[in-house]
């Protein structure tokens, strides 16, 4: 991110804004995609966020905070898209059969990731956001707090809640007996 590009975009230079956003599209889209788990909604969130960035850019006083400011707007845009989705759609719950083939073999990692996927999908967008910022974007808890606009302690408690929920899901599946165990006494 170039401070010069931000400064020029803030002054109304659309070409500078175009150059600036070209470099932001992939990480922002990836972040939105991880939080929303839907390509169309992620596109909507990114577009809404960047248009909001353009309109409100003159109010950004410290160009060095541009990255955190954009991420903050994106995360709130994801919340808004998720909120609209909850209003408009009946919530679809994907019911999947519990894994009967889990075993501590070389395929364990694949199975664990399946369970992570399942646990992650059960999280609210707010909990997904903190997981994504901390473990995908790589921000510290203090930086997460800045982006999310919440205290650092709340970031830590949300991280703990999210990971506890996911690990509980994982542990529950670990305890699920195999089909063989269910049939053979």
């Amino acid at each position: 991110m170039s401070d010069d590009l931000v400064t020029r975009a803030r002054a109304g230079d659309v070409d500078a804004f175009a150059t600036l956003t070209a470099g932001l599209m992939r990480p922002l889209y990836a972040t939105a995609m991880l939080i929303l788990r839907d390509a169309d909604q992620a596109s909507d969130a990114v577009q809404d966020a960047l248009v909001r960035v353009w309109v409100d850019l003159p109010s950004l006083r410290d160009v060095e905070k541009f990255d955190a400011w954009v991420r903050r707007i994106l995360v709130h845009s994801c919340y808004a898209v998720a909120r609209r989705r909850r209003r408009r759609e009946v919530v679809e719950i994907q019911v999947q059969a519990p894994s009967a083939s889990w075993s501590p073999d070389p395929q364990q990692s694949v199975a664990v990731r399946d369970e992570i996927e399942r646990g992650f999908r059960r999280l609210t967008p707010e909990l997904r956001a903190v997981i994504v910022l901390r473990h995908y974007v790589g921000l510290s808890t203090l930086e997460c707090a800045d982006v999310l606009g919440i205290p650092e302690g709340t970031v830590k408690s949300r991280l703990n809640a999210a990971k506890t929920a996911m690990r509980a899901s994982l542990a529950a599946d670990e305890r699920t007996p195999t089909l063989a165990e269910q049939v053979i006494p």
Partner: protein, 450 residues
């Protein structure tokens, strides 16, 4: 699985799930939208410290704009031509459009209670601010010739009518409702001669109200009455609805004084919100009532068009989409004026009837929006600053808004409560009157004859 191993698996999974390419056209769509949208200017403080008392500082003068000057010149030419043709005598005057007079608003000192509220007045550019009365919720009548406000009556809070500068106040009615909230249920007629108000549970010993209540103790907000301030006329306008769960929202006069509209509300199933069952309109002269809308909503807010032919109100379409809707006073021509994906409220017609101002609640808070009124379409609104409420200036060139607290990006560095002037196109930076505590009611802007 240890926490460290779990974190590594999680990070590996996230990296694997993250898309590496962006959908075609997304960047072009963003840049295209940026080329079509104007940036919003940042807030600009023109005063500091308390706006009240000796510490107050005048707000700068309105900077004349070329387009404004050209528009005035064109208007003057058009008026001259109309006078020459004799057309002016045949065209009724727009009761909302006029020159900008004084601004009045409730001011409170820090830590003060409502009972130490003062009414402040300032010039149309925010200068010459002064205290003109003790009280709260001041409002000019539509004709701009009277100032009404709630004040400290002889026995109870009372409604006062005064000259526009606050002089010669007269206590015209005891405050006939229990609530002291910011949304006053007392509505003055456009000429200041009559009051529409709620029937109340409590009998007051004030000037006009005791004879209206026969001892049957109607439920609060169950009836709306009309009283002339000379005491010669007193009668119910909206009798209590047949359904005992229903109550009325505040009465709203049409600008020509012919009609009064009020929303009929009932509590929702969870009893935490209200549902609008209908909007009813009564013809003041005949007492004839009709229901005018089929659009659902959760708000009592109603705004009349300047010609008194149409009402605007927030609601939800049949598929649940929020928006500002409009319907004719005869119940025909119901249509959407401004669609939105977020909750909208507080519609207000511009004095010339060409635009509608309202509040949109997005993920940062409440912000002002303006849409152009069209016959059969709703275009993208013009988004303005974050604000809790807003009113038009009588000439339609300026919006006066109120804002409590902080949190919005534009308010960085200006965390206090403010009243702000912003041009109706949202092109220039808003000019602020900092306040030690935000106003309890919307400000009011006096209309002077054109």
């Amino acid at each position: 699985m240890s926490p460290d191993v779990f974190d590594r698996e999680l990070e590996s999974w996230l990296t694997g799930q993250a898309p590496t390419v962006v959908p075609d056209g997304l960047h072009d769509a963003v840049v295209g939208a940026a080329r079509r949208r104007r940036q919003r200017p940042s807030w600009l403080p023109l005063g500091s410290g308390s706006a009240f008392g000796a510490g107050s500082r005048a707000v700068g003068r309105v900077r004349p704009r070329l387009a404004y000057v050209v528009a005035i010149a064109a208007l003057a030419l058009a008026l001259a031509a109309a006078v020459a043709a004799g057309a002016l005598l045949q065209k009724p005057e727009n009761p909302l459009l006029g020159r900008n007079g004084m601004i009045v608003f409730t001011g409170s000192m820090e830590q003060a209670t409502m009972f130490s509220s003062d009414i402040h007045a300032a010039g149309p550019d925010g200068t010459d601010e002064r205290v003109i009365a003790e009280g709260w919720c001041p409002a000019f009548t539509t004709d701009g010739r009277h100032l009404t406000y709630l004040g400290y009556g002889t026995h109870s809070p009372a409604l006062y009518v005064a000259e526009p500068d606050g002089s010669s106040p007269r206590e015209v009615a005891g405050y006939p409702v229990v609530s002291f909230g910011p949304s006053t249920p007392i509505a003055m007629s456009p000429d200041g001669a009559k009051i529409a108000w709620f029937g109340a549970q409590i009998r007051y010993e004030a000037q006009l109200t005791p004879t209206l209540i026969d001892g049957s103790m109607p439920a609060n907000n169950r009836e709306i009455w009309l009283t002339s301030i000379d005491g010669r006329e007193q009668r119910p306008l909206f009798p209590a609805p047949a359904d005992s769960d229903q109550v009325y929202g505040p009465p709203v006069w049409s600008p020509d004084g012919r009609w009064i509209a009020a929303a009929v509300m009932r509590a929702s199933a969870d009893e935490e919100t209200s549902i609008r069952d209908a909007i009813e309109v009564v013809e003041v002269a005949t007492g004839k009532i009709r229901s005018v809308t089929t659009i659902a909503g959760d708000s009592t807010e109603i705004s009349w068009s300047p010609d008194s032919h149409t009402l605007a109100y927030p609601g939800r379409s049949r598929v649940g989409s929020p928006g500002i809707f409009a319907v004719g006073v005869d119940g025909t021509g119901e249509r959407i004026l401004a669609g939105s994906s977020e909750h909208v409220s507080m519609p207000q017609w511009s004095p010339d009837g060409s635009r509608i101002l309202y509040i949109v609640e997005d993920f940062f808070g409440r912000r002002v929006a303006v849409s152009t009124v069209q016959a059969d379409a709703a275009e993208e609104p013009l988004a303005g600053p974050y604000a809790d409420g807003a009113i038009w200036s009588p000439d339609g060139s300026t919006i006066l808004l109120t804002r409590r607290g902080n949190g919005a990006p534009e308010l960085e560095g200006f965390t206090g409560d403010v009243i702000a002037f912003v041009d109706a196109g949202f092109e220039d930076p808003p000019r602020l009157i900092p306040m030690s505590r935000g106003p309890d009611c919307l400000p009011s802007w006096q209309r002077l004859a054109p």
